[in-house]
Amino acid sequence: MEKRVTFRGWLLPILLIAPQIVISLIFFFYPAAQAVWQSLFIPDPFGLSARFVGLGNFEFLLSDPFYRASFFTTALFSILVTAFAMVPALFLAVLADRLIKGSSVYRTMLIWPYAVAPAIAGVLWLFMFNTRVGLASWYLGQFGYDWNHVLNGGEAMGLVVLASAWGRISYNFLFFFAALQAVPRSVIEAAAIDGAHFWRRFFTIVLPLISPTTFFLLVVNVVYAFFETFGIIHTITAGGPQQSTTILVYKVFADGFVGQDLGSSSAQSVILLFVVGLLTVIQFKYIEKRVHY
């Protein structure tokens, strides 16, 4: 799609677009190129010189059990976050969609967590499950369950998943609610006249009709779990215990900044660039389809 009517001249538009391009080149493309370049070297321990190793960093990474574990952790984490963020959101949206009165009040209440930063969400959940003072861990203790996410990797994963999914329910709720509202009433009424009860209507008519939104949210939630949960993991577990919550993005940070292992951190960045690229392509391919839908 192009405009028929345009203005003449080439200097003005280049000046107009320049700020965006300059910022992109300096802070996006140059660092990304640096990451690719540095991933081919191993710096000496004093940082004075670097030895060219070709794909050595990548070979090392892919054979490194810690890195492979981090891949598995990321996969598990993003599946759990996506499920726990989407299923309750869909349930609440279905309920809200059935109400004529009051649904806007509930909506106002439900969007609060969206405004809460991931890192703050981390602090809130850390507080509830703190091993010494947490209310939730105290009640679990009363029931004879000894909660300790500082030592227990599974509990640590559970806690970061809960905190990550909690902040995301609002977002998914808004999208599901908008999609449900757009389902033509006449279709549902026709099914109701044919005697289909609520859950039958939901699974055979409503769910297929909102599937574009569901697929869209699947991709967006996976992207969220991969790249936007750093604050939660950093505040609650700092990747521990024994790296049980070290997702890929956290490992880039931990190896590059804390561990000062630049070659490996850069190689991890490059691998993540491929992951983002793949997710972006899926997102756009899918959105193109949605436009035709």
Binding site: K3, V5, F7, G9, L12, P13, I14, L16, P19, Q20, I21, I23, F27, F29, P31, A32, Q34, Q38, P88, L92, L95, R98, L99, M109, W112, A115, V116, A117, P118, A119, I120, V123, L124, W125, F127, M128, R132, V133, G134, L135, W166, I169, Y171, F175, A178, R185, E189, A192, V220, F227, F230, G231, H234, V252, F253, F257, L262, S265, S266, V276
Partner: protein, 285 residues
């Protein structure tokens, strides 16, 4: 039409009550973490370290909030709030301005390299800061922008999403308006300022809400580049308030800070709810 179909499709009687009960339960569960943080910010440390902590607010609201705002742990929370405000407004305004300009250039001009620039902007979508942490830090350090507002704002203000959103909107502006402006001999920038920007104001406002929250909630970037406590933003500064080692954290002050960190974005989201929902649904299309 909605009237006579209610009985079949929308619940009445017991079903309606049950729907409300589930809905209220859902809202309460989702609200609980925020409520508990608020309670913790109004009681004393002694109330908290002897579990179970109370679930109703105490009488120490002013004491805890004054302590947080004006004393803090490493730095007064008031300072961190100002830093966050500058950063969030800077990022939101910066993204909007440079995206308006570049979308205008792409839509209303034909110039060499236009498609190249378009794809350059598009590709930034694939380069989130999380995947190029170390080299971006080095660039910012090279410019001497560590511990500065410039360093907090500039690396985050390129925006493919905002550019595409404005481009999409500009495409719907009738050609007749540009035609008329050209016939009248108006310069492109006059047309931009007098017609395009005023017509985009709802989009600008909706985007501002989303981008303000995006900027306010940043964590990793301020964590990397603000090493001086005076430059900490509130969202990343909270983590710094936890003591290292085995000391007990000052929970009432930390939770008061958490509440303070939530208030600005929550006010914006709730008060501008219509714009916010619209901006959210639009910006993801």
């Amino acid at each position: 039409m909605a009237q006579h179909s209610q009985g079949m499709v929308l619940k009445q009687g017991w079903g309606l009550w049950l729907t409300h009960v589930f809905m209220v339960a859902g809202v309460l569960i989702i609200f609980f973490p925020i409520w508990l943080a608020f309670v913790a910010s109004t009681v004393t440390q002694a109330d908290i370290v002897a579990p179970p902590m109370p679930v109703l607010p105490g009488a120490h609201f002013w004491e805890n909030y004054t302590k947080a705002l004006f004393a803090g742990v490493n730095v007064p929370v008031a300072t961190m709030l100002i830093n966050s405000l500058v950063m969030a407004v800077g990022i939101a305004v910066g993204k909007i301005v440079i995206s308006l300009l570049s979308a205008f250039a792409i839509v209303y001009f034909r110039f060499p390299g236009r498609m190249f620039f378009f794809w350059t902007i598009f590709l930034t979508l694939m380069l989130p800061v999380e995947v190029r942490i170390v080299p971006t830090f080095e660039v910012v350090a090279g410019f001497g922008m560590l511990n500065s507002y410039y360093g907090l704002i500039f690396p985050l203000i390129a925006s493919a999403t905002a550019t595409f959103l404005f481009r999409q909107f500009f495409m719907t502006i009738p050609d007749e308006l540009a035609e008329a402006a050209r016939v009248d001999g108006a310069k492109p920038m006059r047309f931009f300022i007098d017609i395009v920007v005023p017509m985009s104001r709802t989009n600008i406002a909706a985007l501002f809400v989303i981008l303000f929250i995006y900027g306010w909630n940043q964590y990793l970037w301020p964590l990397l580049i603000t090493t001086e406590p005076e430059m900490n933003t509130i969202v990343m500064g909270i983590k710094q308030m936890f003591p290292s080692g085995d000391d007990t954290a000052d929970w009432p002050v930390i939770m008061a800070t958490s509440i303070l960190a939530m208030i600005p974005p929550i006010i914006i989201v709730v008060s501008m709810q219509k714009l916010f929902v619209r901006g959210l649904l639009d910006s993801e299309k």
